[in-house]
């Protein structure tokens, strides 16, 4: 099932997913625009946009080695931060005007400590304290965190972030979410006009360019896809569940075996757009705090939410008529290991087949992936 989409705008999205500084972003920079990278989807992008900056979700796309970062990380650390930090050390992130880190997990949170000490030249680097629970006291804490971040951005970049600009930014980001959800809705069809790999390219691109432009381009793509059907020929409809997956090639290997990925729960997938920020609240910071801590579909980093997460996956499977779930995790990731352990039991009880996969951040060893996926599809009798 090769990518069948013949579309200029899709080409741009695809290119953005294969590079860091894509042409749209480069253009923004050339015109004097500033870019702030961030390390977890719980960082409130809207605040960065409201400051007149472009938020950039950190990736290590194109990294080929961890030679430099091996001095700071160990062989029992996740390959995602190892590759990111390696790129930082060899100067590949010089295009960033700032970086915001979060205590998302044990591996990624140390990028803050290492980057601060060992990568000279980053003009702005901050860390946010994300709660582990999703109750009222935690929403209040994160509201204060967001206000603190706002203050730091204002001070460093010499801007003022009023409630008005923040509300505008929320509207803009919600528009992105709405459009992305529309894209996913197209995949409910029996023959979706867009594959999982192609969709991931579109989603990744959304984290790597000014949202206004992105929304325009995505509207164009939606127009092109309206009423279209895909080539079909797949053996099964799959829901992909996991963490930081930003490489469409990985999904392509799965889809080449006949497992069409029609929906997901991923950091670059439904979790960041299935629910919108509440625009009716008078305090936009409160709205953001509620959204990022308790309203959006959670990831296993949040304690006490497993039942909700399991329900989210099962409901999504039914909604998209999925035949099975593939749960992926990066090697050494504790959060997704335990989550998949629990989810496997929940899905078994719900009669939904599940395949668990370990992977490295940079896609390699495709033979092993192919075998497992093929065997999984065969066990589903497809």
């Amino acid at each position: 099932m090769e990518a069948k989409i013949k579309s200029k705008v899709f080409e741009q999205f695809s290119k953005a997913s294969k590079t860091l500084l894509n042409p749209v972003l480069r253009n923004w920079k050339d015109q004097g625009g500033k870019i702030v990278g961030y390390f977890c989807s719980t960082v409130p992008e809207e605040v960065i946009t409201a400051a007149g900056l472009v938020p950039f979700r950190m990736r290590a796309t194109g990294s080929t080695s961890t030679e430099e970062s091996d001095a700071y990380y160990s062989s029992i650390n996740c390959s995602f931060p190892r590759h990111c930090f390696n790129l930082a050390l060899i100067g590949e992130f010089k295009f960033l005007d700032g970086v915001i880190c979060v205590n998302s997990c044990d591996h990624v949170r140390r990028i803050y400590d290492n980057w601060k000490r060992f990568v000279p030249g980053i003009p702005f680097i901050e860390v946010m304290s994300l709660p582990r629970k999703t109750e009222a006291a935690q929403v209040a804490w994160y509201r204060d965190e967001i206000n603190l971040l706002k203050g730091k951005l204002e001070k460093h970049f010499g801007v003022k972030i009023s409630n008005e600009t923040l509300r505008k930014a929320i509207k803009l980001h919600n528009e992105t979410r709405r459009l992305q959800k529309k894209l996913y809705e197209l995949r409910k069809q029996e023959e979706p006009p867009i594959t999982g790999a192609e969709t991931l390219a579109v989603m990744v691109a959304g984290t790597a360019m000014p949202k206004g432009q992105y929304n325009e381009m995505l509207r164009e793509l939606l127009n092109e896809l309206r009423g279209k059907s895909g080539p079909g020929g797949h053996r099964a409809r799959i829901m992909l569940v996991g963490g930081i997956l930003d490489d469409p090639e990985y999904i392509k290997v799965i889809e080449d075996q006949g497992g069409l990925v029609v929906t997901d729960s991923l950091c670059f997938g439904t979790r960041i757009m299935w629910v919108e920020v509440d625009e009716s609240l008078t305090d936009p910071v409160e709205a953001l705090a509620r959204y990022y801590v308790s309203e959006r579909p959670s990831c296993p980093r949040f304690y006490g939410e497993h039942d909700n997460r399991a329900k989210y996956v099962i409901d999504m499977c039914r909604e998209f008529k999925c035949d099975g779930v593939i749960g992926e995790r990066l090697m050494f990731c504790d959060s997704w290991l335990v989550e998949h352990y629990m989810l496997g039991q929940d899905l078994k009880a719900a009669g939904i087949p599940m395949l668990k996969l370990d992977r490295e951040y940079i896609t390699g060893a495709v033979g092993q992936l192919r075998t497992r996926v093929q065997a999984f599809l065969e066990t589903m009798g497809r």
């Binding site: 033979g367 075998t371 497992r372 093929q374 065997a375 065969e378 066990t379 009798g381």
Partner: protein, 271 residues
């Protein structure tokens, strides 16, 4: 109806020819560096044994194994997980757990009643418990694979090999040899540690009898015994060479494609 199954592994290539639900020939050869060449060579040998002159005599061919994408004459390729399971259960219908030890990976499959794979777990990240590991040990101890098996069965006090990595285990073994430990005990200890790993994999998906070994290393009786000790149940022997289980499964699936219905388990029927 004539069908073929071709299992191209990292260490060996296997082919099976079946006629009307029974095996009429099979062959095993060492793999060459090119999977296409291995596939053609082993298939031709099997055809020759069957008194057939050409691949085109077969109605359908299924390829499997590590090199399955490079079997140019295959009508279809199926994962070795499905094929080993199918082949094993055709050989012994009471099979419910298959432990397959290949050249560079090992896997465990749990089966339902009709050869359907319910769950599987694979180790293809390291050499421990694979053909490579046994070859390396046979080299270090200078005793050949058959020798390894015999020595293992003679061990009275199996050594404890604590290294989980096969490279470190090799060092550990050399140290024990130099310390003068009885070779049989060392080899028995090696088999015990491999059996531990396999046991762990079996437990992950649940032990259901009957249990069989497939793959090249299945012919190692020492390993079978060590596995029995760890599992606490008998490891049944297959009536034909366990190394061809994958190719048999592939041939069976080929037959299903032609007849458009599942092939009934005709246990180990060799014509």
């Amino acid at each position: 109806m004539l069908v073929g199954g071709c299992d191209v592994g990292s260490a060996t290539g296997k082919a099976v020819v079946m006629k009307d639900g029974g095996i009429i020939s099979w062959e095993i050869i060492p793999s060459t560096t090119k999977p296409e060449v291995t596939a053609r060579t082993v298939m031709n040998k099997a055809l020759e044994k069957a008194g057939l002159s050409s691949i085109t005599d077969l109605d359908y061919i299924v390829g499997t194994g590590y090199g399955r994408l490079k079997v140019p004459f295959a009508n279809e390729n199926i994962s070795e997980i499905t094929c080993h399971a199918k082949g094993a259960q055709w050989l012994l219908p009471t099979v419910r757990t298959v432990v397959d030890i290949g050249g560079q990976d090992c896997k465990v499959m749990s089966l339902g009643e009709n050869g359907k794979v319910l769950e599987f777990v694979m180790n293809d990240r390291c050499a421990a418990g694979t053909g490579r590991f046994f070859e390396a040990m046979a080299r270090v101890l200078d005793c050949g694979l058959q020798g390894l098996s015999e020595l293992s069965l003679q061990g009275r006090n199996p050594a404890t090999i604590s290294s989980q990595c096969s490279v470190f285990a090799e060092s550990e073994v050399i140290t024990l040899v130099n310390e003068g430990m009885d070779l049989a005990d060392i080899v028995a200890g090696l088999h015990a540690s491999i059996a531990s790993r396999l046991n762990s994999m079996v437990r992950k998906i649940g032990l259901v009898e009957d249990v069989v070994l497939t793959g090249g290393c299945a012919k190692n009786d020492g390993l079978a015994k060590a596995l029995e000790d760890k599992l606490g149940v008998a490891v049944k022997k297959l009536p034909l060479d366990p190394q061809i289980a994958g190719a048999i499964g592939a041939a069976l699936i080929a037959a299903e494609r032609v007849s458009k219905r599942p092939v009934k388990a005709v246990p180990g029927k060799e014509v």
